[in-house]
């Protein structure tokens, strides 16, 4: 039996806990994440809840749990949509080559010039802030990332002998891509999905920190950090909890991605 990489196990556990918290928050949180209680405001962790209370007396743990749903939801949707479009572009470029491939790569170049914050500033002017703006802004950046990775991986598959055999059997580009190329690069795609979802979480947090993400009262980790700035001196616990939540979730997804990569490509595990 092959031993599972340590990073895979740790990453999977962290990710499972975070996803679990996000799902649980849909049906249960220790307190109402939007319930104000001015008397119990800015209480440190302890009697007033595991992570204390915020500036209007809401339970921080409950907001963190509900925020997990927001962050993970936006990051996953953006990554899956952007990754899907990028993968389609990447495998098409690899299959067709020539002018189409150059066109796709130039298009990639254009998209790559727009990091999520920049797209969000541009889209924010057009659509205003919100979940949709965040998803599009993050998704746009995922397209060139996935296109690049899948194109490189697919080109290697296209050079194999069994592709020639499939060709001789009369299969077309699209069918070869579906039956032979995609299944053989699926490991790389899954690894990227994990790692890029982590990046999506960081981006979503950044957008809501700037006020360009989901609007209140929808809980979000980034906005919690933004609001904590005013109380940095009086209530430092408000800075710690959301920041840790972001960092741990991203760390978990990165470890999961690394572990999956080591599992599918053992050579990389030794060399880093």
């Amino acid at each position: 039996m092959t031993r599972l990489p340590k990073s895979l196990i740790i990453g999977a556990i962290i990710t499972a806990i975070m996803v679990g918290a996000a799902l649980l928050s849909r049906v249960w949180t220790p307190a109402d994440p939007t319930g104000m209680n001015i008397v119990a405001r800015l209480k440190p962790p302890g009697a007033a809840g595991l992570f204390g209370t915020d500036q209007i007396g809401r339970d921080v743990l409950s907001i963190i749990m509900a925020g997990a749903w927001t962050s993970l939801g936006i990051a996953v949707v953006a990554t899956v949509i952007g990754g899907g479009i990028g993968t389609l572009l990447g495998v098409t470029a690899a299959a067709k080559g020539g002018r189409l491939e150059r066109l796709v790569m130039s298009f990639n170049g254009v998209l790559f010039a727009f990091p999520p914050i920049l797209s969000a500033i541009l889209l924010g002017a057009l659509l205003g802030p919100g979940a949709l703006t965040s998803i599009i802004a993050i998704g746009i950046f995922m397209v060139p990332v996935f296109a690049r990775v899948t194109r490189a991986a697919a080109i290697q598959i296209w050079a194999r002998d069994y592709i020639n055999a499939a060709r001789m059997a009369g299969k077309g580009d699209a069918r070869i891509t579906m039956e032979h190329v995609l299944p053989n690069i699926s490991a790389q795609i899954i690894v990227q999905l994990a790692i890029q979802t982590g990046l999506g979480i960081l981006s979503e947090a950044g957008l809501s920190f700037l006020g360009m993400g989901v609007s209140p009262p929808t809980p979000s980790w980034g906005r919690m950090l933004s609001e904590s700035q005013t109380f940095l001196d009086a209530a430092p616990h408000l800075v710690l909890a959301p920041g840790l939540a972001i960092a741990i979730t991203v760390l978990g997804l990165n470890l999961l991605g690394d572990g999956l990569r080591d599992l599918t490509d053992p050579r990389r595990g030794q060399n880093g």
């Binding site: 727009f114 920049l118 950090l225 430092p236 800075v239």
Partner: protein, 317 residues
């Protein structure tokens, strides 16, 4: 195909990418709600005054004419007037770059200064304590949002220890050192995620080169481990590190927008963000173009440098 033709095609491709990017920015901003004339004069302005201003600003011309007019302005340095500040956008951007440019440069220098020795140390003895430390640093550094690092640095070094200002920027005119000092914490916040990525890449690159034949030859000739590492391995490992530095530029720019916000620095990120909330869309449009051009230029530059640093790539072209 000749080299010259390939180079020409590459150049044409870059120009096309820039043209499409700028058109995209222009069309999106143009479609955004908010009438510049109304923003400048206020909602209570008379209809004929608004119309006159619209004509003066050229807003009644067709989209393509306005786009080409803007592009011509980009090349001559006339980016138009800010709707809210009433000053030339080019001057506004130039002024704010005096904060953002030193900030990002400082962060890059810091990131390289930390990651290069750390990555090499990790690669020199894989699996040992130093390697573990480096990999812990890179895993955590990549996962931590830079604006959170900024908040923690303020909490620790500005509020508690009072070594640094909590935020703000005194301006270069009020003394070079005070201005530089106010950029130290923001630069650290911006540098940590960069350093984390670079440490990882440096380690992997050094390990890969260590396994190459020419390093074995150098060692067989009697070169000490240390000498072989610094004379042969490290210089030959720099390529992926340089590439990664280029690929990190979009993240550096995004990071600057966030970190400037945390430290209330009057940089270009703050300008873009404030312009957005004030619907000063001409500023947004020009800042976004500037950022996109920087990203594209650095990418093209990285590719060119790549070919220069690795003669094998030139031969293969």
């Amino acid at each position: 195909m000749t080299q010259a033709f390939k180079r020409l095609r590459g150049l044409a491709g870059a120009v096309m990418v820039l043209a499409v990017t700028s058109l995209l920015i222009f069309v999106l901003i143009d479609a955004a709600p908010g009438d510049p004339a109304e923003i400048m004069l206020g909602t209570s302005a008379q209809a004929d005054t608004l119309a006159a201003l619209r004509t003066e600003l050229g807003l009644d011309r067709p989209l393509m004419v306005r786009y080409l007019g803007w592009l011509a302005g980009v090349f001559t340095g006339d980016l138009g007037q800010s709707y809210t500040y009433g000053v030339p956008v080019a001057g506004l951007i130039g002024e704010r770059m005096l904060v953002t440019l030193p900030l990002t440069l400082m962060a890059t220098v810091l990131a390289v200064a930390v990651s290069l020795p750390l990555g090499v140390m990790a690669a020199a003895r894989p699996g040992k304590a130093g390697d573990g430390l480096a990999s812990l640093f890179s895993q955590v550094g990549i996962a931590v949002p830079n604006f959170w690092i900024g908040l923690l640095l303020i909490l620790g070094f500005a509020l508690n220890l009072t070594w640094f200002p909590v935020g703000g920027f005194p301006g270069w005119g009020d003394g070079f050192w005070a201005a530089l000092w106010s950029l130290v914490l923001p630069a650290i916040a911006l540098a940590i995620p960069q350093a984390a990525v670079l440490t990882r890449v440096t380690r992997a690159a050094v390990i890969e080169v260590t396994n190459e034949d020419f390093i074995r030859t150098a060692r067989a000739k009697g070169l000490s481990r240390r000498r072989a590492l610094w004379r042969h391995t490290v210089p030959n490992s720099l390529l992926p590190v340089v590439t990664m530095l280029g690929l990190q530029i979009p993240f550096l720019i995004s990071g600057a927008v966030l970190v400037e916000n945390v430290f209330s620095l009057p940089g270009i990120g703050t300008l873009a963000y404030q312009a957005l909330s004030q619907r000063d869309l001409i500023v947004v449009q020009n800042v976004v173009l500037l950022f996109a051009v920087i990203v594209l230029a650095v990418n093209a530059g990285t590719d060119a440098l790549y070919a220069r640093l690795d003669p094998r790539l030139r031969a293969r072209k």
